[in-house]
């Protein structure tokens, strides 16, 4: 039977924990707001670069570019995005589980891992997958420079033919409560993407590899317009393709960052609520014990008094 003091200690300890989780929740909420702004302000650029890339693609003679080249898939690279720290619910373990399933399913294609985030790096290395590279402490300070660095690394491996396809596993930020786990193909760039973004998922299997859907221009206007070019269009096009990869990597980094903070916020919110429930429960038990003690004392007094008068 715990004494009153034990209960009080218990309540104090839970309260302390609750204070920590509450603080972490507020921190996560603030970071989430910033990350969300990042996601939103990156969107216009991504949209415009896709449009310019598209209109350039429709006008070049041949859309040959090292990053568009398709070849027999013998080695693949899987880019796995996790956080660097835990206490964010199932965020990291979801990604890791999906990634390691994916790796096992593609075992015949000699997968290598590009780990972004400490959590994924640790687990996947322990599982014995070869690491092609690692980037840690990215989440929380995502900027375009780091996206460029990662994109350059991926492009280099691809152009040196050390890998034949690149996939990415990450959490997409849907809203504060929902993160969607995504597995996407990053390279070779799907020719359908150069046509229209909406057809990205559907168009892949049937589309002829190196031919672009020329009449899928996003708006009627830019389709009719003939552009003047300051530089040869082929040159512009071949510069635009890596930019597009950078902007995709940047988008994925931002999505994952926002999703991580959202997951952390939700996790800390429910931890705070669980602590409150626990405090209520322990308080109730404490009061019961206190009442029992008082009742016992009263009985003793009454009993004592009765025996004294008799």
């Amino acid at each position: 039977m715990p004494t009153l003091l034990d209960y009080r200690r218990r309540i104090r300890s839970v309260k302390n924990t609750q204070q920590i989780t509450r603080a972490m929740k507020f921190v996560a909420a603030a970071k989430l707001r910033r990350a969300q702004e990042g996601v939103f302000s990156a969107r216009p650029y991504a949209k415009e670069i896709l449009r310019v890339l598209h209109s350039a693609a429709a006008r070049v003679e041949s859309t040959v570019h090292p990053l568009l080249e398709r070849r027999a898939v013998k080695r693949i690279l899987v880019v796995v995005l996790t956080g660097d720290r835990s206490l964010c619910g199932a965020f990291n373990s979801n990604v890791i589980r999906r990634a390691s399933h994916f790796l096992r399913d593609h075992r015949t294609e000699n997968p290598q891992v590009l780990a972004i985030g400490k959590k994924g790096r640790g687990v996947l290395r322990r599982e014995g997958w070869p690491l092609a590279g690692e980037y840690v402490n990215v989440s929380g300070n995502v900027d375009f420079a780091i996206a460029k660095e990662i994109a350059a690394k991926i492009a280099e491996l691809y152009e040196k033919r050390e890998i034949d396809a690149v996939y990415t596993v990450y959490n997409e930020f849907k809203n504060v409560l929902v993160q969607r786990l995504c597995t996407e193909k990053l390279l070779p760039i799907d020719p359908a993407i150069l046509g229209e973004r909406g057809s990205q998922e559907k168009a892949a299997p049937g589309a002829p590899a190196d031919m672009l859907p020329r009449d899928l221009a996003p708006s009627g206007q830019s389709r009719l317009v003939e552009y003047l070019y300051e530089e040869p269009i082929g040159e512009i096009f071949s510069h635009l393709v890596p930019r597009y990869l950078q902007s995709e990597v940047f988008r994925i980094l931002l999505e994952s960052e926002a999703a991580e903070w959202a997951a952390r916020m939700t996790a800390m919110d429910s931890a705070t609520r669980n602590a409150a429930e626990l405090i209520d429960k322990v308080t109730l038990e404490m009061n019961k014990t206190r009442q029992a003690a008082i009742t016992k004392e009263l009985i003793e007094i009454v009993g004592g008094a009765a025996s004294a008068t008799s």
């Binding site: 650029y45 830019s222 300051e230 635009l240």
Partner: protein, 146 residues
């Protein structure tokens, strides 16, 4: 019918810098500056490192542009810059310090090495920022005079 104004939009990967209706733009192309007035022929160009100037009514404003692309249409100009700041936002002292630092570092590397290139680009960026800020300052001073 030629349009009378241009919708200028400047975006970088990290933010949406500007969206405004303007009368004339000067774009720092890779091969040199080009002026754009309403009704310009459609054009796509790569951008270098330089100052983008645009005119709205009587005021001229300046932005720094560090690499990217521009798409010009008769009534719309979209600038996709790697980095871009408004002249008002530039911290001149910081840019000066960056330039000095890069200049000193430059001396320590042999010409043509990767570090040397990086420092040279840093100097170029700092100089463009300082120039944009001082032009914006001059423009302000002129408009204040009667």
């Amino acid at each position: 019918m030629l349009p009378e104004s241009i919708e200028l939009q400047v975006v970088t990967p990290e933010r949406h810098v500007l969206e405004e209706t303007v009368l004339a733009i000067e774009i720092p192309g890779k091969e040199g500056y080009l002026g754009v007035l309403p009704g310009h022929a459609p054009l796509i160009t790569e951008l270098g490192v330089g100052i983008l100037a645009y005119r709205t009514g009587s005021a001229t404003r300046y932005l720094t542009i560090i690499e990217g692309y521009a798409e010009v249409l008769p009534d719309r100009v979209i600038v996709l810059a790697e980095i871009s700041e408004k002249a008002e936002e530039i911290d001149v002292d910081r840019s000066r310090a960056a330039q000095d630092r890069a200049q000193r570092a430059l001396a320590q590397h042999g010409p043509g090495t990767a570090e040397w290139q990086a420092e040279r680009q840093a100097i170029e960026r700092a100089m463009v920022r300082i120039a944009a800020a001082s032009q914006a300052g001059m423009a302000r001073a002129q408009t204040k005079e009667p």
